[in-house]
């Protein structure tokens, strides 16, 4: 299991800085202060969203960050309506299934392309690589026609099917399986494991950090996906959170405290996940960005 340990320090090192521990001179203090101010500005939209979602309607027009009379009335109102509950559930189900599917299939294909020598390998590799060049927007019309033909419109399957495998994930995993020594695989083969077992019990545990990075990207991508769910869903109960929020925002018109509540409901889960797994997620982003 040394490989996983070996990958980790290198990406960790990329995130460490060798700068002095404490700001020593005036220049560094000013630099720190400006960075801090900039950082606060960066999170202002999120802070204001949450703050407004806790305000009564008459308070939303003042600029105060902390409401005079904080209330969770907006949340009860929005959740009682029931639709947000469904949208939340839909988004969770779709994001989780798609993520599992990607982790499984992208790593299987990446592993096969990396560790097997077979006729057609190069063609498959190039073919999958070339799909990276095709924008989703070009495919939505044919996907819509397919969904219409097979009755997939307005179903979970209809929302999910385009994203069950991604070329990006496949290449990310292929890159990481390169770090798994062939000796390990040969040894397992001599021990009498079949290829499926080797992939699952020997190779997969060695690339766990990469699997986590892939899972984060796919989950976030599906959680925030908008254009395809917008096209493929018709009924309100089938909307995902972004699609639901978009229609809710239109309908709520000027009730900004309710819109902010809806926005907060769809943003807070990913923020909490991020705050818990911060180091892990940033490392994943670096890995995916540099190797993918």
């Amino acid at each position: 299991m040394a490989i996983a340990e070996e990958i980790r320090p290198t990406t960790d090192a990329l995130l460490k800085t060798t700068a002095p521990k404490r700001p020593a001179n005036m220049g560094q203090i000013i630099r720190w202060g400006l960075l801090f101010l900039g950082g606060i500005l960066m999170i202002m939209p999120i802070v204001y969203m949450i703050s407004t979602s806790l305000k009564w309607p008459h308070e939303i027009y003042n600029l105060k960050l902390i409401p005079d009379e904080p209330t969770i009335e907006n949340y009860t109102f929005v959740l009682q309506d029931g639709r947000f509950f469904w949208w939340f559930l839909n988004s969770i189900v779709i994001a989780v299934i798609t993520t599992l599917c990607n982790v499984l299939f992208d790593s299987l294909v990446g592993y096969t392309l990396c560790k097997f020598r077979f006729p057609g390998r190069y063609i498959i590799f190039i073919a999958i690589l070339s799909t990276l060049m095709i924008p989703t927007e070009m495919l939505v019309i044919p996907w819509y026609l397919m969904s219409q033909q097979f009755g997939w419109l307005d179903t979970y399957w209809g929302i999910m099917f385009p994203g069950l495998m991604t070329a990006f994930g496949t290449f990310l995993m292929k890159q990481f399986f390169e770090t798994v020594p062939n000796d390990f695989i040969e040894a397992a083969r001599i021990d009498g494991l079949n290829e499926l077992q080797i992939w699952w019990t020997v190779a997969m545990p060695l690339v766990k950090p990469a699997l986590a990075a892939l899972a984060i990207f796919v989950f976030l991508g599906n959680w925030t996906a908008f254009i395809w769910p917008l096209i493929v869903t018709n009924s309100v109960e089938m909307y995902t959170l972004p699609v639901g929020l978009s229609s809710f925002g239109d309908e709520a018109d000027v009730a900004w405290e309710l819109i902010m509540t809806g926005a907060a409901i769809s943003t807070i889960p990913t923020l909490i996940v991020f705050l818990i797994f911060q180091r892990f997620i940033i490392r994943g982003v670096v890995m995916a960005g540099l190797k993918g």
């Binding site: 560094q28 204001y48 407004t52 027009y61 019309i141 290829e195 254009i227 925002g249 923020l271």
Partner: protein, 297 residues
């Protein structure tokens, strides 16, 4: 099973490889390649989803190139790209460069900058839309009015609407670019900097002669990645201009929004497919040009 047993190790490998690849190959064929071909095919046809599909040759493309609305949209798409990419590149490099030089509460600062990347574009589009509302609702105009500065018409102006929509799109992507830049900065060997310090080279020279040249792969990646994002901008535009999609006089409408409207509001599938082919070509040409120009330098 007997047949399998009699195979050589090499042949067994082939059997395993193809059985692993069976489902994925089917997936990529049916969900990626067939639709790509289909989109190109439909772009040469006239079809409103209900009636017959009729072959019209290049009519859709001729109609598109003669359509002033298309050229407006085409221009908008490139304005998003030409403002968005350089601006986000410079800002994110500036922040990453300085963040790299601070260690005090480094993780906390990094978190502040990265947080927006974890938000959903739709949710944040609505938040920014609220910010942009006129007094007494909108945050920005309220803020301006407390200082007695005249109101700015953000979303209902033909000149201000596009930058107003671009701002949250840049904001949301900064965190990712900063993290990638910082990783790139860390990958530069310290010995280069030490050598420069011994030679007494100024900070600016170090930045221009060492840091930026060695960051080239990172810069290429960020430029290509963010350009593709800005050329495909949709979520922010759609959500900030519902009720008047594309903003006043189409001043904010990007290509993807035009595709969406042509296909799913007017159901002019052939015309929409032609637009998607153009989008594909634009993305292809822009990425290849950027790779060529940036790699050669």
């Amino acid at each position: 099973m007997n047949v399998y047993r009699n195979l050589t190790i090499k042949q067994k490998q082939i059997v395993w490889a193809w059985s692993f690849l069976a489902i994925p190959v089917l997936f990529y064929t049916v969900i990626r390649f067939y639709p790509t071909g289909n989109a190109i095919l439909i772009s040469f046809q006239d079809w409103n989803l209900l009636g017959k599909r009729t072959w019209t040759g290049l009519d859709n493309y001729e109609k598109l190139f003669a359509d002033p609305a298309f050229w407006k949209v085409f221009k908008n798409t490139f304005v998003y790209l030409l403002i968005g990419t350089p601006l986000s590149l410079i800002v994110s490099f500036f922040i990453a460069y300085n963040l790299d030089k601070t260690r005090f509460m480094h993780g906390f600062l990094r978190m502040l900058y990265f947080l927006p990347f974890m938000t959903s574009a739709v949710a944040m589009a609505w938040v920014w839309r609220w910010f942009y509302q006129p007094v007494p609702i909108g945050l920005f105009n309220n803020f301006l009015s407390t200082f007695g500065i005249p109101q700015i018409n953000f979303l209902n102006s033909t000149t201000n609407a596009l930058p107003s929509i671009l701002a949250p799109a840049i904001w949301a992507g900064l965190g990712f670019q900063i993290i990638i830049f910082m990783a790139g900065l860390r990958a530069i060997p310290q010995s280069y900097y030490e050598a420069a310090r011994i030679d007494g080279v100024s900070t600016w020279t170090v930045l221009w002669e060492i840091t930026i040249p060695l960051l080239k792969p990172t810069i290429v990646f960020i430029v290509v990645f963010s350009s593709i994002g800005f050329l495909r901008i949709f979520d922010h535009v759609f959500n900030m201009t519902t009720g008047n999609p594309g903003g006043p006089l189409n001043s904010t409408k990007p290509l993807v929004l035009m595709i969406y409207e042509t296909a799913f509001s007017s159901f002019d599938m052939g015309y929409a497919a032609a637009q998607t082919v153009i989008l594909f070509l634009v993305l292809l040409v822009v990425s290849l040009l950027q790779l060529r120009i940036l790699r050669d330098r």
